[in-house]
Amino acid sequence: MPSLLILIVGLPLLAAVVTAVFGSKLLGRHAHWPAILGIAGSCLCSLALIAQVSDKQSHSAGPSQAGYAETITLWNWADIGHAYDQAPKAIAPGADVLAPGADVLVTPGGMRRFTIDITLRADALTAMMLGMLTFVATLVTIYGAGYMHGDRGYWRFFAYVSLFVFSMTMLVSASNFLLLYVFWEAVGVCSYLLIGFWYEKPEAAAAGKKAFLVNRVGDFGFALALFLIWVTYGTLNFHDTANVAGVLGQTRLLGELGFVGGGVGFAICILLLVGACGKSAQFPLHVWLPDAMEGPTPVSALIHAATMVTAGVYMIARCMPLFLAAPDALLIVSVIGGITMLLAALIALTQYDLKRVLAYSTISQLGYMFLAMGVGTTAAATAGVFHLFTHAFFKALLFLGAGSVMHSMGHVIDMRRFGGLRRVMPITHFTFAIGCLALAGVFPFAGFWSKDAIVAAVHDKVHILEHQGMERHGNAHDAADPEQHAAGRAAADVASAVVTPSVTPVFGLTPSSRARVYQTLYGVAIFTALLTAFYTFRAFFMTFYGPLRTPHEAGPHPHESPRSMTWPLLGLAFGAATFGVLFEGGGWSPLFAKFVQGSPSFAYGFAEYKEFHPDVAMASTVVVLMGIALAAYMYLGHQREVDWIAGLLQFRWLSSLQNLEWVNRAEQHRWLVATKKLAGQLALGWLYGLARGLVVLLATVAIAPLMLVHNLSPYQLSSRKFFFDEIYNAVIVAPLRLLATLSYWVDRYLVDGLVDTCGRFPFGVGRFFRGLQIGLVQFYALAMALGALVLIAVLWLGAAG
């Protein structure tokens, strides 16, 4: 197993180094081979790793609560003998260590050994992530060989991609928070490099910068979380070492030392969440992802859809025991997820850029995953990770399909400029359709199973919470739905036995109010499913149906993409179509869930409760079909009706009011013409002009709010992305820029002026002493003698006085 892990991370690194060193000169057009071979090898090793982990899991007789994990330490990176530390405390399981008001910082501090080992781990979660990541990466790299063909930076592309795959494999297999952070930054750098891959394009350079800066905000939170974990737990390792219990190690999971709850636990989780929000483009840090579509499309598929952006979800999944100790943080995770998925889906409705539609859809789907992570049950967490897994396939598929369209349309991606491509690009059309069905969540495609599992888990959570609430108040629950409630109570019992009872909530919400929150989120999830189906098929119909239209950039004979691009599409389409059934099997044989539950992060403290809900599945299916039908009607249906609806949503009736043409038209009226003429004859032309100006002014004042309302029409809100960019510009960017300009002027004139003045001083002194150098030897001799006399005189006078 150690050699496998090392190979998985080592092969892409080797490929990156080889491509970087030999790429520009030696490899040339063949620069893709090291990357493809390295990543494919890594993929094979990952599959072997999954098999091994699965085998070990089923044979390990250890306590189920701790799960199965194995670590290998490669070398010691840093070792500080006496790092300052707040004295770490032994924490009893489930004990409420810190009351909300208690201040952890007043405890006496001490010195503690701080070591960072380069440690890799193998457990179910890591193995799953590695398998998914390397599989998608292999296909995307092959696709990239076709897509990037003939690009000036061909080798650079593959060097970056290999580097990214290395960083990402390290990210998911690191067994230490600091290492996780390092590679969290490393994938960010790769993302920056690849977004700005075509750096001559100003938009691409700006998008790269934006992604990097927005991510800094998140990373700041993550870094703070690490500091807090260090002072709270006294280590940054996930695993146990010889003398220190790791944050997520066996010792804690088996209950000898619990997890910190209360205010500190809440703070840790919220800070981690901030980090996750940055990387996974969640509200309010979601603004960078749509712009990141400036990068090459394979990059959008691999980094900004399938893998890197799911790092936030992975991190929360990895830290699930920490979050379970802080239920209020869990609630916030869910709420963030809910807001994001709704917001992004609403924006996606009106975008014309095919890749941006997909980008907002990615944000929205990540919102689903966050929602699932925030529920805090085994079913929800595994469902969230499962959605991460299936989403990687169908979203990568959709992006690669979009890339295929873009490739053949001469890099035009505006859906208004092409249409009816289904006959031109049959394979792309077919695979894109599968991707759309999976994304919309139509039975039996992959997205259906994972999305349904999430929605169902939220549904269950509502029941669990309702039961807790009723028991707390001693009420008999109402018997409207005895079956479900019985199940809910059973789950609640398990849950309370393990974690919930003694954790003091920070917000003090009662279970029933929590239940209301989750109930709302459940509704939002269903509604978002409708929107998802709509915008997905809107894009699909606009691109592939209707009369054939192609932009002139595409040339006279647009054609299907080369085979190196269509084969990966087919491979991903297979995954998107079947992985749901294969790995979830309708809840009867949940292979995936069983496998992932063996991970230490998921093995601890969950309420076991899992059932396939036909009613939830039915509801979401109906909603999805409605969405598809609506899209078909709007984009394939009768044009005039569609226009009418569109007009209604755009507040088009307001725009007619805004037009001041009527003033001119009214002036043509013969009464007014006569009045004007009369006024002119009476030398009162100025009075007429004044009156006219007044009327126009009044009309403008009256219209101003209407214009505002017009800009806030549902259509405008969606199409302008709820003005997030504008608001951030005004509130954050502009003041900072002002401050920067101010600092620049202060530095340039005040500070530099002072410094220059100081610099001129030695020159002035030098000019004086230079003047003494007159070149006469008599003077030099005199100066020596005088110097001696003065020194003697000073010494004698000093001694006397």
Binding site: G766, Q773, Y780, M784, G787, L791, I792, L795, G798
Partner: protein, 559 residues
């Protein structure tokens, strides 16, 4: 006392060099082959180096082998400085192989060898007569060498200036020495020290002889300050350097400086009684030299004039170490044995820092002059810094070497100059820290601050040279220029390479020197704890500690 044969063995390097020089002088009349005599001179230095290496056996028994009596002090300080003098001689001879006047090459090489012998004698002289004779052996051939360097008015003027002022300085020095003899009745340095220390113990006598002692010190400082070009006895330096050739300027910048620093350590720091005025004088001269040297150098365009001011400033830096040692000396006699130990360590550290700085300075400064010779062998060569513009393109290796020397002189890490400045400033603060609040502490804090400010000012003109070489396009100056002329021969190149290796080596591996100094420090501690009460012991301790970097010097010289 050593036997005659031992004495002969100890002085064999000097004796052999004098004989060889005589051979050159005589032989030169029969055949004046510049190249042949140069190789002969190099072989002579090789023989001397071998003899010096063998002579180490005589005292390698450690501190016990120190022989304070007699006209020569045989100790680590003298030993390491003799290596430095030999290395200087080798580098200058390598340069002379191409630069010395063709007709008078043997005279030039022989004179150079005598200068080296003079420096070596001064470095181990333990007696006033010996000191003076050694210094004259440095000065007199130097007059000749300066004049031989080139045959024009500017050179003649420079030689005459140096001649007159040097004689004046020698007169001051001799005057001071006569006072010293009058005060103590002896010319032997240990006896002078014992006598002055004894007088210092008796308050009435101390008060009576204090003014005379002060005047003596000032007179001695005029003579020695002239040798090391310390302000206000520095006036000759810019004029003479400018009039000299690169080779003779390199000689002026190094040989008298090694000799002067050696005498200052032996005579003033070690032999004078612990009085406050000594470190005050050193500090005054240090601040004056650093400041005047650096601010005037800012205005220079002539490379040798710039280097003259630079050498004035570096003398100031070295005086910081001596001021530290003198201050520690004045603290030594006073308090408990713990404070004594601390003060003894400080004294040793101050001297070690000065010697380290001297070594670093000698190589960097010689390197600059060697590189200038490399660029322009003809007569006067290039004169101005602006001539160097664009050198990085036309002669990248030469430009790189000059850049290394300039960075080192400016004290940029990781080059040798940085460690030198670092140790000087550290010792200055180390004196100040334990005596927080006293005048002495304030003074040394000010000294460190002034030193650092000066380092910043100095960076201004050193980096300007680099900027001109690397970032300015070649200007349209008259042919032939440094760009078109071929570089000097491989002997000159070897001289430049030797200096570069020394500067880079000391810079990159200062721990070698540090190990050496810590070994010596242990020796110091053992010595001081056993002989804490004997004032004479201090002399020995600091000289053991003074061998902070003989390894490096040996390396350089053996190449």
């Amino acid at each position: 006392m050593p036997t005659d044969s031992q004495t002969l063995l100890l002085l064999f390097p000097e004796i052999s060099l004098v004989c060889m020089a005589a051979v050159i002088f005589v032989g030169g009349t029969f055949g004046n082959n510049r190249r042949g005599w140069s190789f002969y001179a190099l072989a002579a230095y090789g023989v001397a180096a071998f003899a010096l290496w063998r002579s180490a056996d005589a005292w390698s028994g450690g501190a016990a082998a120190y022989m304070p009596s007699g006209p020569f002090a045989v100790d680590i300080m003298g030993y390491s400085l003799r290596w430095l003098a030999l290395a200087t001689g080798v580098v200058l001879t390598l340069l002379a192989a191409r630069q010395a006047p063709k007709q008078l090459a043997s005279e030039f090489l022989g004179g150079l060898m005598l200068v080296v012998v003079g420096v070596m004698l001064v470095c181990s002289a333990n007696e006033l007569t010996m000191v003076f004779l050694g210094l004259e052996l440095v000065s007199v051939p130097t007059y000749m060498l300066l004049f031989l360097g080139r045959n024009d008015r500017a050179t003649a003027e420079a030689t005459i200036k140096y001649f007159f002022l040097s004689i004046l300085a020698s007169a001051f020095l001799l005057y001071g020495m006569s006072f010293l003899y009058g005060l103590t009745g002896s010319t032997s340095l240990p006896e002078i020290r014992a006598s002055l220390a004894a007088a210092h113990e008796i308050p009435a006598l101390n008060v009576a002889q204090q003014p005379l002692l002060q005047a003596t010190l000032v007179l001695l400082l005029v003579g020695l300050g002239f040798k090391i070009a310390a302000a206000p006895f520095h006036f000759y330096a810019p004029d003479v350097y400018q009039g000299a050739t690169n080779l003779t300027a390199g000689l002026l910048a190094t040989a008298p400086k090694i000799a002067g620093i050696a005498v200052l350590i032996r005579l003033v720091v070690a032999a004078f009684p612990p009085d406050d005025f000594i470190w005050q004088l050193f500090m005054t001269l240090a601040i004056l030299s650093m400041t005047i040297g650096n601010v005037c150098a800012l205005w220079q365009n002539n490379i040798r004039r710039l280097m003259a001011y630079s050498s004035i400033a570096h003398s100031g830096y070295m005086l910081i170490g001596l001021a530290v040692a003198a201050a520690a000396n004045s603290l030594l006699a006073e308090e408990t044995s713990v404070a004594n130990l601390q003060a003894a360590n400080l004294q040793a550290a101050g001297i070690a820092a000065t010697l380290f700085y001297l070594t670093v300075y000698v190589f960097a400064s010689l390197g600059v002059f060697a590189a200038c010779s490399l660029l322009a062998e003809k007569e006067r060569g290039f004169e101005n810094i602006s001539d160097l513009s664009g050198l990085a393109k036309s002669k990248p290796w030469a430009a790189g070497a000059i850049a290394v020397f300039m960075f080192s002189l400016a004290g940029i890490p990781p080059l040798a100059g940085f460690w030198g400045k670092l140790s000087l400033m550290t010792e200055s603060l180390n004196v100040a820290l334990p005596f927080n609040g006293s005048t002495l502490a304030t003074a040394f804090c000010v000294l460190a601050v002034v030193g650092m400010l000066n380092a910043a000012i100095a960076a201004g003109y050193y980096l300007r040279v680099i900027a001109v070489m690397f970032f300015q396009p070649p200007t349209g100056h008259a042919e032939p220029s440094v760009h078109t002329e071929p570089v000097g021969g491989w002997l000159t190149g070897a001289a430049v390479g030797l200096c570069t290796v020394a500067v880079l080596g000391i810079g990159l591996a200062p721990q070698m020197a540090a190990e050496q100094s810590s070994r010596s420090e242990d020796g110091v501690r053992v010595f001081v704890t056993t002989h804490a009460t004997q004032p004479a012991a201090n002399l020995a301790t600091l000289e053991i500690r003074g061998a902070a970097e003989p390894e490096v010097t040996q390396q350089a010289a053996s190449k």
